[in-house]
């Protein structure tokens, strides 16, 4: 189904295949957002789709995040399967009222009459020197809202298939795509023809410590796990995948195996999704823990432009490794 060679698929291509696949297989699906058509998508994800599917189904919208997101909600009520693209999560703040007060509430406020089968894609994350208004990770905010499902692909297969699963979901689904992933390449599993949106996934089994993460931090965490392996620390890597609802069973299973947990989350530490993971472990796995859960998050600062400052603000392989080293050497 994908044109790219298994060895060399970029996340950008995988996301594009996902969107293309949706437009091919679901006649009710259409894409709407700023510059998804003629421009080819601000990060190139939708390039070529306008030519293939035309301006009705690959719909360029004016700079009106609130209106075209709300229109997506209305179109979903009207029987379509809109795929709304908001360029970045920073701009999604302009559409947050529509997503929280309408998309997430209509089903409940109407006593079950109004499901909203809407999919909203947005780019999140930092690392490209885009400074304080283009580098946020607000996916944790969406994960606070009952009525929304929130997913964050961190692997090439999830990048390829999560959109289709989201389209099948009767609830509004927010897909948080970390921008740092787009240029990365990985082999696609050719045998796969879909993924589910309910469970976390162990990306690397291990016995000494659990590294819990998602999205753009996953590659860093896997790299850290390799570094640790070389030091004799066998780390398990749990990819949350679904940020709402959280997969408690997977969290409990991994802590039951390792009894030590480090949560890696690119968001600002206070009030991050990592905090919720800590709270779940506190509530449900307190007696399984040999040591307190540790968080590796971003420094609490609007993202600076200067490269050395930005890199210092973000979780890095080194800082993750350092945190794990400290944790595993700590006595229970």
């Amino acid at each position: 189904m994908t044109a790219a060679t298994p060895a060399g698929t970029t996340f950008r291509e995988a996301f594009r295949e996902g969107v293309r696949d949706a437009l091919l297989r679901d006649p009710r699906a259409f894409v709407v957002g700023e510059d998804v058509g003629r421009y080819g998508g601000c990060f190139g994800v939708t390039r070529g789709l306008l030519e293939e599917f035309g301006p009705e189904r690959v719909r360029d919208a004016p700079l009106s995040e609130a209106a075209f997101t709300g229109a997506g909600i209305g179109a979903a009520l009207g029987g379509l399967h809109p795929i709304v693209e908001i360029m970045t999560v920073n701009f999604a703040l302009l559409a947050l009222d529509q997503l929280v007060n309408n998309a997430a509430t209509l089903l409940h406020m109407s006593g079950g009459q109004l499901p909203v089968p809407l999919v909203v894609r947005m780019t999140t994350g930092a690392g490209r020197q885009l400074a304080a208004q283009h580098s946020h990770s607000f996916e944790g905010w969406f994960a606070h809202v009952p009525g929304l499902r929130v997913v964050a692909p961190g692997t090439i297969d999830d990048a390829r298939w999560m959109l289709w699963a989201a389209l099948q979901d009767p609830d509004p689904v927010v897909i948080a795509e970390n921008g740092a992933l787009y240029p990365m390449t990985a082999p696609l599993d050719a045998s796969l023809d879909g993924v589910e949106l309910d469970h976390a996934a162990v990306r690397r089994p291990g016995s000494d410590v659990s590294l819990v993460t998602y999205g753009g931090s996953l590659p860093k965490v896997l790299e850290a796990a390799d570094v640790l392996a070389a030091e004799g620390v066998d780390a398990e890597v749990l990819d949350l995948r679904v940020l709402r609802p959280l997969d408690d069973a997977a969290l409990l299973a991994t802590v039951a195996r390792t009894h030590r947990v480090v949560v890696v989350d690119e968001a600002w530490r206070s009030g991050s999704l990592a905090a919720e993971v800590c709270a779940r472990l506190m509530e449900q796995a307190f007696y399984e823990l040999d040591a307190p859960v540790v968080r590796v998050c971003s420094a609490e600062v609007p993202m600076p432009y200067a490269q050395h400052l930005e890199q210092a603000a973000l979780p890095q392989v080194e800082s993750i490794v350092r945190a794990v080293r400290e944790l595993v050497t700590r006595r229970g």
Binding site: G70, A71, G72, G78
Partner: protein, 335 residues
Amino acid sequence: MSTPTARAPAPGPTAEDPGLLRTMTLIRRFEERCVELYSAARIRGFMHLYIGEEAVAAGVSAALRPDDAVVSTYREHGHALAKGVPARAVMAEMFGRVEGCSRGRGGSMHLFDVARRFYGGNAIVAGGLPIAVGLALADSMAGRDRVTVCFFGDGAVAEGVCHESLNLAALWRLPVVFACENNRYAMGTALERSHAQTDLAVRGAASGMPAWACDGMDVRACAESGRRAVAHARSGAGPCFVELRTYRFRAHSMYDPELYRTKAEVEEWRRRDPLPALAADLLARGTLTADDVERLGADVEAEVDEAVAFAEAGTLEPVADLTRFVSARDLRGAR
């Protein structure tokens, strides 16, 4: 594009008039009863009355087909009743009953009835406009000739999303009728303190669609503007904007001390009450007899009585079902 300030001339009588009188009377009596029930604490939360503005809902809705959609605000009892949502279902909703049109989850501000395509109660000012645009987008992409009417107030025109929505609908030539109910106040803020340009139709026209104002206290004018607007939208020519100049006789909500306007001003507008005006005209023309009018009133009273009885007899959702309807996954097989 018609000049924004053009006002439709007051049209003559039509066969619809008795129906319009009944709809307006139902809304009026229904809400008068709501006031009593609110004082008796049978209805709670925020409740916004439409009394004085009935000509707008009755007139505009008369132009709609059952399969046309309506998107409304928190001041929506009138729009719901005019679209055919049963009075009993609306009353039961305000009582918080399972039998309510939103199963008691929504209350006065959140009335819904998908079967009647009433996508009603949005309590975020101007929050319903993009939804109306989306409903119309779905119709237009599916090649259906349905129309979506979106009601909103003068205050809503100050919200940015209003302009985004007007532009989107015009740009994509969608079948939306933007029905702006200009009752001269946004809560306590008078029109001229909300807008530098108080001719609201000008704002609609500036988004590139036909826009005009009409006398919202004259139900025939509202019906005429409704027909014209709905016909325009259904023709595929894109959206249009109608400013219906009306007035709210009662407080903004049940908590409003009305410090911002004079009794005299309210009295002056009450003299333009569309209900007695139409009734008198129909009697004078002999379209209706005194008996007809009395019977109509009695019918409506009976309907409201029945609605209240139905609501009183309604049941409460079990607390065990508190988190139902958060995910549509529960619905699979549920309903």
